[in-house]
Symmetry: C2
Subunit: 138 residues, 2 copies
DNA sequence: CTCGTTGCAAAAGATTTGCATTATG
DNA sequence: CATAATGCAAATCTTTTGCAACGAG
């Protein structure tokens, strides 16, 4: 599905900027509003940061994208496409890893059974230490 | 262990403010810097917000407390005590639930096996819909 | 006493908002 | 064309920082 079609399918106006934001997220997979602007600016200078914020807001409201919090005050947006994936963020080296959300299935099920809470698989982020940093700290 | 002892045990100076922050977190379980200040101010007016930030920073560095991100730009701090617990945040009603971290054990294990990443059980936060809001949306 | 902590005020970021202009449907 | 979306600048909010005064060890 083209980005234009994606927008139409949820009833949003097809603007240059919204397509640019979606394209940027396709390119960088995930990023903060600032990072998205940087990517957008590569192909279309002149887009305003507040427009990025507004685009992200409507795109998220329409479930075309979602965001999660990786580390301090840095909301990270990414497209909602094929496979949901979870994020792992290393508290030591700050790197972000992505893994298939299937790995969290067991926990989702356990929690739903426990108190009825339904987890959004696109939003999952774990903090911890990556393999490298685990070694280093030894 | 008293709050004074906690601070001593990790080699931090025992100041009024640090004890107040720990006390506030004991009282409210978890909260943003702003919320913590509000709680602290109840018993000790005059404490500065930047002091709260600095206290949170050192307390976290010494592993007396930890934080996670619940929703937009709102870091939430809480004490590290007995049982690690995970947070569930309802994207609809914004309420936060706590559950024993044991529920996430399976996933932790799976991820460690998958790529060596070691998850910090105190940092886990899931977004989704709570039982009530799931019903409502039907 | 000495050096780490705090309060205060100002700086630095991040996000939001009002309004005139532009572009989509 | 009407109206929603954008650009721009200013307003907010959150978090950080410099520095002088203060307090713990």
């Amino acid at each position: 599905m083209t980005r234009s079609d994606k927008l139409k399918s949820v009833g949003l106006r097809v603007t240059q900027q919204r397509q640019l934001v979606l394209a940027a997220l396709d390119a960088i997979r995930h990023g903060t509003p600032e990072e998205i602007l940087t990517e957008v600016t590569k192909t279309a200078p002149g887009v305003n940061l507040s427009t990025i914020y507004r685009c992200l807001e409507v795109l998220e409201k329409s479930n075309l994208i979602t965001h999660t919090h990786l580390g301090h005050g840095a909301p990270t947006y990414h497209v909602v496409d094929g496979d949901p994936h979870i994020h792992l963020r290393c508290s030591n080296c700050q790197r972000v890893f992505s893994l298939p959300a299937a790995l969290a299935e067991a926990t989702s099920t356990a929690i739903k059974a426990n108190n009825g809470f339904v987890i959004d698989p696109y939003h999952i982020t774990f903090e911890g230490l990556c393999e490298n940093c685990t070694k280093d700290s030894k």
